[in-house]
């Protein structure tokens, strides 16, 4: 057996290899390893501020984009189930956090990102993207407007350095300060149906007024934190941003309050199957610099009605107006237990290759294989019968509407 890519991206090559080509975390880890091999002591995996806590919990670690992060504590299927039925406690301190502060913060972000961040009200958040001048997606982001002149940009770990550098460059000429807080901010998420009860107990915050994609300053374990109602699991959930040195106390307070609510520490392995069931894109799988937001069927996040233009605008306008055969991101469900995985070919009824799987797994909640894939519009209708080449076997799949899983209302 060859043990393959441990990250939240699916290994897909035949034979499997240890470095997954399409996995940004593997590439970041590889870069880190070669720098370490060249004797650069700063190239060691960065431990999360919660590392000692994870060690005490017996976590299996993975090097994710230069961070040593918990992959799982025990069984990732049990952790997945805990998030669907009770709540999971995640350490996401590897995520990048970049603060923009100053009178031009809104203008600078309108210029730097494809979204209209000036239209976001203080206390609210927005899902958006940063593109290059060709319109290619450099990262997908959640941006919180903390105050009229203060924003927090949250980037994927593997792109955090790129995003920080781009924001600095793009903010030049604006009256705004750009500060990369990735190294000193910890991020803890509580996700699942019982998360509100746990967060209410620990923070005392009024959650009835805290809507999805909103944030509020709060207190946890006696410390000032930023509490947000966001997540990447398809469940109701919260994310807590806190200074690294204080994170362990917040984690312990959540653990104590969460025990009667079934709160379970959960690693990055189940985070990936949770987001896949919820039909959410993952950078490196569904998104890349080779795709514009329109190619990813996320053109709605691009706002052209912004004064002063934005990076990538001309290319994105051309792409919007171009008469190119559209591919769309669809859900595929299969039978049996073998899952279509990242990179596998999708074939139509005639056996012609029509697309590629971007993510796939045996769904822990549904019990059957699920996958996302880019296919042409002609074969994208729900109910369309397609096949996926699973390592030489043609496995029948059916197109379904995303998401695969929606939490009970």
């Amino acid at each position: 057996m060859i043990l393959s890519c441990p990250h939240t991206h699916q290994p897909s090559t035949d034979p499997p290899v240890t470095l997954h080509d399409a996995c940004p975390a593997c590439h970041a880890a590889e870069k880190q390893n070669s720098r370490r091999a060249e004797g650069d002591p700063t190239a060691m995996s960065t431990p999360s501020p919660l590392h000692a806590v994870h060690e005490a919990l017996g976590a299996a670690f993975t090097d994710f984009a230069g961070w040593a992060m918990p992959l799982r504590y025990g069984s990732e299927l049990a952790e997945h189930k805990a998030v669907r039925t009770a709540a999971g406690l995640f350490d996401l301190s590897h995520m990048g956090e970049i603060e923009l502060t100053g009178p031009d913060a809104a203008k600078a972000l309108d210029h730097a990102l494809v979204g209209k961040l000036s239209a976001v009200k203080p206390g609210k958040a927005r899902y958006t993207m940063i593109c290059d001048t060709d319109g290619g997606v450099l990262d997908d982001l959640v941006v919180y407007r903390l105050a009229a002149e203060k924003y927090l940009v949250v980037a994927n770990a593997s792109n955090a350095a790129t995003v920080a550098a781009e924001l600095r460059e793009r903010a030049a000429g604006f009256d705004v300060e750009v500060a990369d807080r990735s190294a000193d901010l910890a991020l803890i998420a509580v996700q699942g149906p019982t998360s509100a009860a746990i967060i209410r107990e620990v923070t005392g915050a009024d959650l009835d007024t805290l809507a999805y994609y909103a944030s509020v300053p709060a207190t946890a374990a006696g410390h000032d934190v930023l509490l947000a109602r966001t997540g990447y699991t398809g469940e109701d959930g919260f994310e807590i941003y806190v200074d690294g040195p204080l994170a362990a106390e917040v984690w312990q307070a959540l653990t104590a309050a969460g025990a009667p609510h079934g709160l379970t520490p959960a690693g990055l392995a189940c985070r990936d199957t949770l987001r896949l069931e919820a039909g959410m894109p993952l950078y490196g799988n569904e998104l890349s610099a080779d795709l514009t937001p329109f190619d990813a069927a996320l053109g709605r996040v691009v706002k052209f009605d912004k004064a002063g233009g934005f990076v990538g605008q001309a290319a994105l306008e051309r792409r919007r107006d171009a008469d190119v055969p559209e591919k769309v991101l669809v859900g595929l469900v299969g039978t049996g237990k073998r899952a279509p995985r990242h990179g596998y070919a999708v074939l139509d009824a005639d056996g012609t290759e029509v697309g590629t799987v971007t993510s796939g797994a045996l769904s822990p909640t549904l019990g059957h294989p699920i996958a996302m894939a880019y296919v042409p519009i002609a074969v994208s209708g729900p109910g369309t019968a397609l096949t996926v080449d699973i390592r030489g076997t043609q496995a029948p799949v059916e197109v379904v509407k995303l998401p695969f899983y929606q939490r009970p209302a």
């Binding site: 057996m1 393959s4 822990p364």
Partner: protein, 126 residues
């Protein structure tokens, strides 16, 4: 979990109980099972299938990854573990016992690592 000293090991994280070469038992090690995560699907060779040393003869899928099983030696499959096909998590819960995969008649050379050698190898891999 320590590697039982009565078993032999391959570089590919499989164990072989070759006490009876007419029916040598093959499984994956606890180290491999832990690295894979929760095993959700096992594809085994059929009874009667000819094995060629080092060639893929099956697959183990976890939620996160797919890994090939490699034949530890030339031979012929004489029995497969139906229980592990129905209940793949046996690979995680009892890798050296109920999670065994198949038995084969060894016809070629069987070159295996000792438990100590294999333990050393996995220590190096971290």
């Amino acid at each position: 979990m320590s590697n039982p000293s009565n078993l032999g090991y391959t570089e590919d994280h499989e164990w072989v109980d070759s006490a009876d070469t007419k029916s040598a038992t093959v499984g994956v090690t606890a180290y491999a099972a832990t690295s894979l995560g929760d095993v959700v699907f096992v594809q085994l060779p059929e009874v009667g299938a000819k094995l060629t040393k080092g060639e893929p003869c099956g697959e183990i899928e976890s939620t996160k990854s797919v890994s090939d099983l490699f034949a530890p030696a030339d031979g012929t499959v004489v029995e497969i573990n139906e229980a592990v096909v129905d209940t793949p998590e046996l690979v995680n819960t009892d890798p050296f016992g109920d999670g065994w995969l198949f038995r084969f008649e060894v016809t070629g050379d069987l070159e295996l690592l000792t438990a100590d050698e294999y333990t050393e190898k996995t220590r190096e891999e971290g």
